[in-house]
């Protein structure tokens, strides 16, 4: 049971990442491959504040989101000049830079040794140590994130984002400053990724740079595509499926010598089949062209 709840907490954290990346990739059509970098900024900010200065994770959340938003702002500059594959590569490079900083700024981050002993959240003096309580906390932030992002995407503002995705030239001749919207989208997306990083750090209580690699960003992108682009419900399904699926395969009762590699292969095969049969994802309304 404890294990099951743990899986749900992880899925809950991924839901925030996936929904916020969907805002950038699915709604606005900007292929970004560096979402884990923003998560990294959030996680390290809050962890360092808690460990060095003894600040509460609640302050850590604010600081983590703030710094992630600033990072999002910086990372949006290449997005203003680049398109498609080039943008994907630039954001990937950005992820590598952030990862490199986390790994090499040893005096601040302890580098590859990571930061152990990060305290958990506490509400009115009661520390949230049990997993199920943390699950409620994560669900609370899931709901807030969903409402926030849903209000954006289901508004005229969100419609404009789709316009940028569909035809950037055409939306400009209608009087829309696309630069402004792209910057805002990157900042909002990064902010939520930062939030998920904070939640992750205080849950696992240990972070090291290996949790925030490009591979991690690709996983989040997979969740977005799997669930469906430009659909927030899809992102919820995508995050849960891709967190739970590998765990379910664990229970197939395969002999342990083949279980692990087979699990990976089945997982990969399912993704390939989905992309062939439903390129827009489970609930998606938009597909890459």
């Amino acid at each position: 049971m404890e294990y099951f709840i743990h899986i749900l907490v992880i899925a809950g954290i991924y839901i925030i990442l996936t929904m916020s990346l969907n805002l950038i990739v699915g709604y606005t059509g900007l292929p970004a491959l560096g979402h884990a970098a923003f998560s990294c900024i959030g996680a390290y900010t809050s962890a360092i504040l808690a460990l060095r200065l003894g600040l509460s994770p609640w302050i850590g959340i604010l600081a983590g989101i703030f710094l992630a938003v600033i990072t999002g702002l910086i990372s949006s500059f290449p997005a203003l000049r680049l398109k498609g594959d080039y943008l994907a590569l630039a954001t990937l490079g950005f992820n590598v830079i952030v990862y490199g900083i986390a790994k090499n700024w040893v005096s601040l981050t302890r580098g590859p040794m990571g930061l152990p002993g990060i305290p958990s959240f506490s509400i009115f003096g009661f520390s949230i140590t049990e997993t199920w309580k943390y699950l409620i906390l994560v669900l609370f932030f899931d709901i807030i994130s969903f409402i926030f992002l849903w209000r954006i995407t289901s508004s005229p503002f969100g419609r404009l984002l789709k316009g940028i995705r569909e035809d950037e030239k055409a939306i400009q001749i209608l009087g829309v400053n696309t630069v402004k919207y792209k910057v805002v989208v990157f900042m909002v997306g990064a902010g939520f990724a930062g939030l998920s990083g904070v939640l992750y750090a205080h849950y696992i209580t240990f972070i090291d740079p290996s949790s925030f690699t490009v591979m991690e960003s690709i996983t989040i992108l997979l969740m977005v595509i799997f669930g469906g682009m430009a659909n927030l419900y899809g992102s919820i399904i995508g995050a849960i499926s891709l967190v739970v699926l590998p765990e379910v395969l664990r229970f197939l009762g395969l002999p342990s010598s083949v279980a692990a590699p087979l699990r990976q292969m089945i997982y990969g095969l399912l993704l390939v089949i989905l992309m062939l049969k439903r390129p827009q994802g489970i609930l998606g309304e938009y597909r890459f062209r």
Partner: protein, 255 residues
């Protein structure tokens, strides 16, 4: 009153002159045709006027304000809209949303309002949807409002793009071949819409190949050839011009 003044547009692509010292001005409330054989530089003129290209030399003034060098969205907010030769719609969203995209919102485009004052945004959206439906009815696409734009036929796409342009409530319409390749019935509709725009004291500059149509509806014709303006004036004057006839019949015409 002159709504647009083009002064000495010169544009080069890889050393080849696409436009050479092209100047003209346009009166408010008129329909102006830009004609000429392929490669004459007609679309280049529109691209410069809408801000997608910058001329090597020359300036354009809209209502006395310089627009060359401004980004496309700025020019658009001043009241200049354009359509494209092969239409540029937002294909994976609905027909209604395509028109709504042309309307600027006071609250609905403000991030804080969108998150904190949703009621207000929804109310504003409702008003805009009503307005957008008016434009869709005007072009005869009201019934298709929930259809994805990519499911429309070519002629319907032309109409939708025109509805979208109308919805911006611009005063100067730059239409790149609005009549090309559509069925006669759609063509009639589009011509009627152009006349309606003129009736509202708004101005059109459009590109067209078929001389017959052009002389019927335009107040004025500007003829380009090899990037140079070779004639400019009332239809009956221009179409008599020896150089114009030569441009069209002299072996390099394409219509």
């Amino acid at each position: 009153m002159k709504i647009l003044e083009v002064k000495g547009f010169t544009k080069e692509f890889d050393g080849i002159k696409a436009l050479k010292e092209v100047s003209f001005s346009v009166e408010n409330g008129t329909i102006n045709a830009l004609i000429g054989p392929n490669g004459a530089g007609k679309t280049t003129v529109l691209n410069i006027l809408s801000g997608f290209l910058k001329p090597e030399k020359g300036e354009a003034y809209y209502k006395g304000k310089k627009i060359t060098g401004l980004p496309p969205f700025k020019i658009s907010t001043m009241g200049v809209v354009r359509t494209f030769q092969n239409t540029r719609l937002f294909l994976q969203i609905t027909v209604l949303e395509n028109v709504l995209m042309a309307m600027r919102y006071r609250n609905g485009e403000n991030l804080l309002d969108v998150i904190l004052r949703r009621d207000k945004v929804l109310k504003e959206d409702k008003e805009k949807i009503n307005k957008a439906m008016d434009y869709l009815s005007l072009v005869g696409l009201a019934e298709k409002k929930d259809e994805l734009a990519e499911n429309l036929s070519y002629g319907q796409r032309k109409l939708l793009e025109l509805a979208r342009a109308l919805a911006t409530e611009s005063e100067l319409f730059l239409l790149d071949e609005p009549l090309a390749g559509v069925f006669p019935e759609t063509r009639k509709k589009i011509i009627a819409l152009m006349k309606k725009i003129k009736k509202e004291r708004k101005t059109i500059i459009f590109i067209e190949h078929i001389v017959g149509i052009v002389s019927d509806i335009s107040d004025r014709i500007i003829v380009l050839r090899h990037g140079e303006k070779i004639a400019d004036g009332k239809p009956y004057e221009v179409l008599k011009d020896r150089r114009v006839i030569e441009a069209y019949l002299g072996g390099e015409g394409d219509t």
